[in-house]
């Protein structure tokens, strides 16, 4: 249709430009370009909010209210279980372990890359808080007492959150009855794995975080709700038993989350 131009000089210039930008980016000398994140965040936030308002995405108000009530009740159950354990620990003169001086930072979800509507559920979010808000890689992200995910990457103005159903995320967890295992994500589902065969886990039991904080107080605090056991797989010839978990958080409709800050 149109005559082809000599592309070699342009290709070499653009490729060289990319390599230079990449090298500067790797060496951390492109922080002055963080101002570019603001317009991109605005575009991303606008499109994500618009997307959330689509009729086939947003659920009816009644279902949303029920889900909210459900979350609240489960949070109360988790709090009750925590109080029980604390009481038991105090009785035994043990110190209870809990993160110190925890602050929650409200953040808006502005993007969900990896999300194909109707085909898959999101497995990571982009939130509108970053290094300037003291976010750190590894910080837990929650909604009420429910674990949403963990911060995996941070830039000046935005951060990426790996959701609990992300295959790259695994965390130590325990059931209400104290069985310990590892929660792993993958393909939008959650599995509680590495639970000893001698442990007793039942359907409907809550799965809570076991706690994984570092010396700086960054990480996942204990006793956050990961989800509920929906089915178990116990084979006497296996070393461990595993269970499927369903998170109480509706990742598709999530627009606000909270980040644990130390």
């Amino acid at each position: 249709m149109k005559r082809r131009e000599n592309f070699w000089p342009v290709f070499l210039v653009v490729a060289f430009l990319c390599v230079v930008i990449l090298a500067l980016s790797f060496s951390g000398n492109l922080k002055f370009l963080s101002f570019l994140e603001k317009p991109t965040v605005a575009i991303q936030s606008f499109s994500y909010n618009l997307f959330q308002k689509l009729p086939f995405i947003s659920e009816s108000a009644k279902i949303e209210k029920l889900e909210e009530t459900n979350l609240e009740l489960l949070s109360r159950v988790a709090a009750f279980e925590k109080l029980k354990r604390e009481n038991a620990a105090l009785s035994d003169q043990f110190q209870t372990l809990y993160p110190r001086s925890i602050q929650l930072l409200k953040a808006q979800v502005i993007g969900a890359p990896g999300f194909i509507p109707g085909v898959s559920v999101p497995n990571n979010f982009i939130i509108n808080k970053g290094l300037k808000d003291n976010l750190k890689v590894g910080s837990a992200v929650v909604v009420k007492d429910n674990l949403v995910g963990v911060i995996s990457q941070v830039s000046e103005n935005i951060a990426q959150v790996n959701l609990v159903n992300n295959s790259s995320l695994s965390l130590a967890a325990k059931t209400q009855n104290g069985a310990v295992g590892v929660v792993k994500g993958g393909g939008g589902s959650l599995t509680l794995d590495n639970v000893l065969l001698s442990e007793n886990i039942t359907e409907g039991e809550l799965v809570l975080t076991r706690g994984d904080m570092d010396n700086d107080g960054v990480g996942i605090p204990p006793d956050l709700v990961v989800g509920k056991i929906t089915s178990m797989k116990k084979n006497p010839s296996d070393l461990f038993q595993k269970a499927e978990i369903r998170s109480f958080v509706n990742f598709v409709n999530l627009s606000t989350v909270f980040v644990y800050l130390q």
Binding site: F11, A15, L17, V19, I21, I43, G111
Partner: protein, 136 residues
């Protein structure tokens, strides 16, 4: 140029919602139809935008897009590329490579959707630019 500009703006708008690499389709169609060197700059711009919203190292996606456009140009030297089959295959392979490099899930359905949309856009633009042609 107006359809390409509008499509670029649309792709920029939806990039935060889905990982379907519409940019690959846009670059393939633009390269095949226009055969102009500004496509390399479009590749760089789209790449930088995707790097910013996905919190990747800046320049990474731009480099991949630039190489993708370069490969299409190389192919064009010896073969006819203004065909539906070429757009489909190049977009599919480009999408699969992109999704694999960035470790996204469900790469095949995403690549398929992207390729079909690229064909649709290619045909619409072809009719607009050269409605009497029968080479498609």
């Amino acid at each position: 140029m107006i359809p390409i500009t509008l499509l670029t703006l649309f792709i920029v708008a939806i990039s935060g919602i889905t990982t379907i690499p519409f940019s690959i389709g846009l670059l393939a169609v633009s390269t095949v139809l226009f055969k102009k060197s500004w496509v390399f700059f479009l590749a760089l711009g789209l790449g930088l935008f995707l790097d910013l919203i996905s919190i990747r190292s800046l320049g990474y996606t731009g480099l991949i897009f630039t190489i993708f456009v370069f490969l299409i140009w190389l192919y064009e030297r010896k073969f006819e590329i203004q065909t539906t089959a070429f757009v489909f295959i190049s977009t599919s392979l480009g999408s699969l490579a992109y999704l694999k490099i960035f470790d996204y899930q469900q790469i095949f359905p995403q690549a398929l959707v992207n390729s079909l949309l690229a064909i649709l856009f290619f045909k619409l633009l072809w009719l607009r630019l050269d409605p009497h042609s029968e080479t498609i």
